[in-house]
């Protein structure tokens, strides 16, 4: 393995300064980063280990009803926090549908947001990849691309963002708190990830040294707890990335949808917020027709980037199903097979 420096800063300020140097990256649990380093995809000169920083592993409710999740909270701890799961059930379900129990135990909130694409050509250092080596070309474009993007892609990159967690987060207007060289700032999660355009090497808007310190769910996010689901179609029942997924959340008042939220996963380089579909649902009754219309709108503008036209139709169907499930009400317990189409019938005791 390439030799690199390993530093363990004592404070956030030191961490930011250390990571702002060229060739430096943050190390959280390393479940993504270390794989990339072993494969020669990432070859950093310096790892800035943030896992020992104080104050980043808490889950706290703020005075205004927001929830603030520290960047080092593990995916498992967050999902298994009973209060969290009650208030944001789709987020908990999404977390539990990701990776494996072992990975979830290790993986952090910040790392999950910033995990990199699973495009096989990105991982294969012998392939041309604009994201890995800017300007080199994109071997996925004419390659094995049935799992690639159908929304927001460009000729220079057709990769998707693989996170499950981010999909309900983006639907719920999550906010990312960042500590950078210029101090603290915050942005909407929807603005964190970039569409590829002609600079796919930049996954996010973060600048060198920018440390995610927390993710915040605004007060309104709790309002959807009664009608919120995550649904993930994948190639096996567990331990697989989404082919396509959707997070749906409804606020239903007097038999009508007062407000709808919809996010799609596995379709674009970012967790995809389907605002046009949300608008179409506002004020209407939660009917099959309304959900069909929402699905149509959610996928407006979608186009295959390769052998993946099926994902567009699949995404429409997933939207309809996710909305139907949300309308039916959040189940009292997270299903044993979280986010699975087989959730209701599994008989399984774990995924």
């Amino acid at each position: 393995m390439k030799q690199f420096d390993y530093v363990r800063p004592a404070t956030i300020t030191e961490a930011v300064a250390a990571a702002a140097q060229p060739g430096a990256v943050f190390l959280a649990a390393g479940t993504n980063l270390l794989d990339l380093m072993k494969g020669g995809v990432s070859r950093p000169d310096r790892l800035v280990d943030v896992t020992h920083l104080d104050g980043l592993d808490g889950i706290e409710t703020l005075a205004d009803g927001s929830l603030r999740i520290g960047a080092l909270v593990s995916n498992a701890d967050l999902a298994h926090d009973a209060e969290f799961a009650r208030s944001y059930p789709a987020v908990a379900e999404a977390l539990l549908s990701g990776a494996s129990a072992q990975l979830r135990n290790a993986a952090t909130v910040g790392g999950n947001l910033l995990q990199r694409t699973r495009c096989a050509y990105f991982y294969d250092t012998a392939s041309r990849c604009n994201k890995r080596t800017p300007g080199s070309g994109c071997d996925a474009r004419e390659g094995e691309n049935r799992s690639h993007a159908v929304l927001g892609w460009s000729e220079s990159c057709i990769a998707t963002h693989p996170s499950d967690f981010c999909v309900p987060l983006v639907a719920l207007d999550a906010i990312v708190e960042i500590e950078g060289r210029g101090g603290r700032r915050e942005i909407a999660l929807d603005e964190l990830h970039r569409l590829p355009g002609d600079a796919p090497e930049r996954d996010t808007v973060l600048e060198p040294g920018d440390l995610i310190v927390a993710v915040r769910l605004p007060p309104a996010a709790r309002g959807f707890a009664a009608h919120a689901r995550y649904l993930k179609v994948r190639e096996r029942t567990s331990y697989a990335f989404a082919v396509v997924s959707a997070a749906s959340a409804l606020r239903i008042e007097n038999g009508r949808i007062a407000e709808a939220r919809l996010g799609l996963g596995g379709v674009a380089a970012k967790p995809w917020r389907a605002r046009a579909a949300e608008d179409a649902l506002k004020g209407v009754a939660p009917t099959a027709d309304a959900f069909q219309e929402a699905a149509r709108r959610a996928l407006e503008g979608a186009k295959p980037s390769g052998d993946n036209a099926f994902k567009i139709e699949l995404a429409r169907r997933i939207v309809v199903r996710a909305l139907t499930l949300a309308a039916a009400g959040t189940p009292a317990r997270i299903p044993a097979l979280p986010a699975s189409p087989f959730a209701s019938t599994s008989g399984a005791i774990h995924a």
């Binding site: 096989a120 050509y121 294969d124 179609v233 994948r234 096996r236 997933i318």
Partner: protein
């Protein structure tokens, strides 16, 4: 490696014989406590680490390697390349026997497939060797690779599998098809698959002068030893291989593979012990795989649903430099009583590592196509798939007319169907839904696998203290040889298993043949059985010819061996312990050897196969296309069951593999580069726990007096056959969509709403 401390836990307490008892694995506690020493756990003094650099191009030549950069890296000791390596005694391209496959051991700069070893970096640490390999930054002259089933001109291979004819026929297939009332003509495709044993191929090699100590997982100690001896030009006695445990092999550890030879070469080059372990992605190339197939089945049936003809053609691939042809069409030889059967193969050459045996080679690929086609034919005839199979039940082996040595398939069908509740299955597809609205489908497949025997030898001894020894260089791949073979051994010498020292897993012990072809328990078991009988015979001679023994003169009546005593057959009150007999004779030990092999006369006369019937239930989301297996029942008849617990595990494993074949497994090859794009266990999907419902295995009683003295058939591979087809057929029954390309993908089931 310390002496193996195999447990005698309470689970081993039992009454009566050893064979047939569901003992738990005797090496189980060693394994779960991490004390079982796998090859890569060995760290001889002064050991260095070797890491292979592998090719990223699939066809061409390496034109440069930056050896200097690699050597400059701290900790790197040496870099082995085609220009800098120990000389082998023979050209590795020469096939000295049919079980020798060509390998890449830096004999030239040619690249024949992606992931081919092109250099080896040897360093003081694994990390340094890994970085050294990365620093080699190879440059290539690249040619467009040959990829896929249509890569070039096809040809008919001379033989398929191991020496089977590429074409066979009996009866007139075209006439049979012409005379048929109903016909189907369907083409199925199966993808390349990789063994992906949990334990990667590894070797720790240490030279001491011209003595060579090797720790390496192998399914064939003697064959590997012979290959090392000829490649390095040293006598067999100078080589010692230890392989007490394998973390799976599935055929990919049957023969000495190139990377393991590279480990021995590296140790020779640097004059120190060297460890070389493949990374997961490096297992997708030089250690074999299951070739893809495209199979066309044409089947005819008469108005009553009786087969009139069965034509099975398989296209497959081999490498550009060696021959292994997946014998897929052979699956149609034994199961169904068509009056006319033809099987044939053709192939193209592609830039891959040479395909090899992978658990049920030919049987697995052929079975999913055949069982799907039979299902299609049954439906075309308007018949229940089980009724159709029973109507076409083969009373004798269809191709040869030979009777079966035993065949309890009818009982498998009956017991499996009853347990599953098959009788309630609607004939039409897409008829069943569960409470949640998911589509439910039921499918079945017939399982079959030949009952093979190789050759093995064993040495048995009885010691003065009355304990026994059984020695055989057998292989425990996880299937439970340490336990099952010890059970046979204990019975063979008339001792309780705890009074027997069972030695296995090293090359200095008698040759047990290869652990493959589902034949290891039968072959090694037969050798153990005859060695035990021989040593007991010698002991009996000692006693019955000594007038001081209570058994004196028992000659004609004979004696039996039980619980460490010889007992007069016609008078059980007269007996003597082994210890007493040896003490009186003044012997420390008495020993004998025995062999196990197929009986050619019986093979001539009988067709020998294990059989089974598998029933599967799947649920399919009608809109989203995701599939999940929800029930599976397999009933198998495989002769004598030596250890029911281990047999059940083998059959579970096979059935899960069948599920994997139908729904999950596929190596995705980039058609332009020839590189495999999912060479890791995250993306090369196999079922996880959540995909596998509780499975139900029935072992159907079957006594076979012909296969071997113990009546053992094999159970290692049969579980895949039948199961893959059963799952595929259940998907059709659930959805009405017949998918003929495996694994079945979500997009193929999205067609209907």
């Amino acid at each position: 490696m310390p002496e193996l401390n195999l447990t005698s836990a309470p689970a081993h307490l039992r009454h009566g014989s050893n064979i047939g008892q569901p003992l738990t694995r005797r090496d189980g506690i060693l394994k779960v406590t991490g004390r079982a020493t796998y090859a890569a756990d060995n760290h001889p003094q002064g050991m260095l680490f070797a890491v292979m650099a592998v090719s990223t191009t699939a066809r061409g030549r390496v034109v440069s390697l930056d050896v200097a950069a690699a050597k400059r890296h701290p900790g790197v000791v040496d870099v082995m390349t085609p220009d800098h390596k120990p000389q082998l005694a023979i050209d590795p391209e020469i096939k000295t026997n049919p079980f020798v496959f060509r390998m890449e051991v830096l004999q030239s700069d040619e690249v024949r497939y992606a992931n081919q070893p092109i250099a080896v970096v040897i360093a003081e640490t694994l990390e340094a060797a890994t970085e050294g390999a990365a620093l080699l930054a190879p440059r290539y002259e690249t040619l467009p690779p040959l990829v896929g089933l249509d890569a070039g001109e096809s040809f008919a291979p001379p033989v398929v599998g191991v020496g089977n004819p590429a074409e066979s026929h009996h009866g007139d297939v075209e006439a049979g098809l012409a005379a048929a009332d109903k016909q189907i003509d369907a083409t199925y495709e199966t993808p390349p698959q990789y063994h992906n044993a949990m334990e990667p191929h590894s070797i720790v090699a240490a030279w001491n002068g011209d003595n060579l100590q090797i720790d390496m997982p192998t399914q064939g100690l003697a064959l590997s030893l012979a290959r090392v001896a000829e490649l390095f030009g040293i006598a067999h006695e100078k080589i010692h291989i230890r392989s007490p445990f394998l973390g799976g092999g599935f055929g990919s550890k049957g023969l000495m593979a190139g990377p393991q030879v590279l480990g021995v070469m590296a140790a020779k080059l640097v004059g120190k012990p060297v460890k070389l372990v493949l990374r997961r992605e490096q297992m997708y190339g030089p250690v074999g795989h299951r070739a893809p197939t495209r199979q066309r089945l044409r089947i005819g049936a008469d108005a009553e649903g009786r087969l009139t003809a069965l034509d099975h053609h398989a296209r497959t691939v081999s490498s550009t430099f060696d021959d292994f042809f997946e014998p897929a069409a052979g699956a149609s030889h034994t199961l169904y009583a068509a009056p006319a059967i033809r099987t044939s193969h053709d192939a193209v050459r592609v830039n891959t590592g040479t395909p090899l045996f992978m658990r049920a080679p030919g049987e697995a690929t052929g079975s999913i196509a055949l069982e799907s086609a039979i299902d299609e034919m049954a439906f075309a005839c308007g018949m229940d798939p089980l009724a159709f199979r029973l109507k076409n039940y083969a009373e004798v082996e269809p191709m040869t007319g030979r009777p079966f040595s035993s065949k309890a398939l009818r009982a498998c069908y009956e017991q499996g169907a009853a347990r599953f509740g098959w009788a309630k299955r609607p004939l039409q597809p897409r008829q069943m839904r569960d409470d949640a609205g998911l589509l439910v489908g039921w499918g079945m497949g017939t399982a079959t696998f030949p009952a093979l025997m190789f050759q093995a030898e064993a040495r048995a001894a009885i010691r003065r203290d009355g304990s026994g020894v059984m020695e055989i260089g057998a292989h425990d791949m996880g299937q439970g040889a340490w336990t099952a073979l010890a059970q046979i051994a204990a019975d063979a010498v008339g001792l309780d298993i705890d009074r027997l020292d069972f030695k296995s897993g090293t090359s200095d012990l008698p040759d047990a043949g290869i652990a493959g072809g589902s034949a290891h328990t039968a072959t090694a078991g037969a050798a153990i059985h005859s060695a035990g009988a021989a040593v007991i015979g010698k002991l009996a001679d000692l006693a019955t010819s000594d007038e001081r023994s209570p058994l004196f003169g028992a000659g004609n009546a004979g004696v039996i061996a039980r619980d460490g005593r010889l007992i007069r057959r016609d008078d059980e009150s007269r007996s003597e312990s082994y210890a007493e007999i040896l003490a009186r004779a003044g012997l420390a030990e008495i020993e004998a050897r025995g062999t196990g092999a197929a009986n050619p006369a019986a093979m001539e006369q009988y067709a020998m196969h294990a059989h089974g019937a598998v029933f599967a239930e799947v649920k399919v989301d009608p809109e989203l296309g995701q599939v999940r297996l929800t029930r599976m029942v397999g009933a198998f008849a495989a002769g004598r069951i030596v250890n029911p617990r281990m047999v059940q595990s083998q059959l579970f494993g096979g059935m899960i593999w069948g599920l994997s074949f139908a729904l999950h497994e596929e190596a995705v090859t980039d058609r332009r580069s020839g590189r495999i794009m999912n060479a890791n266990l995250g993306e090369y999907h196999i079922p996880v726990n959540a995909d596998v419902p509780p499975l139900d295995v029935i072992t159907v009683e079957e006594h076979d007096p012909h296969v071997n003295a113990l009546g053992i058939k094999g159970v290692g591979e049969i579980g895949i056959t039948g199961s893959a087809g059963a799952v595929a057929n259940a998907v059709w029954h659930a959805t009405g969509v017949r998918v003929r390309r495996f694994p079945i993908r979500i997009e193929e089931l999205l067609t209907q709403g």
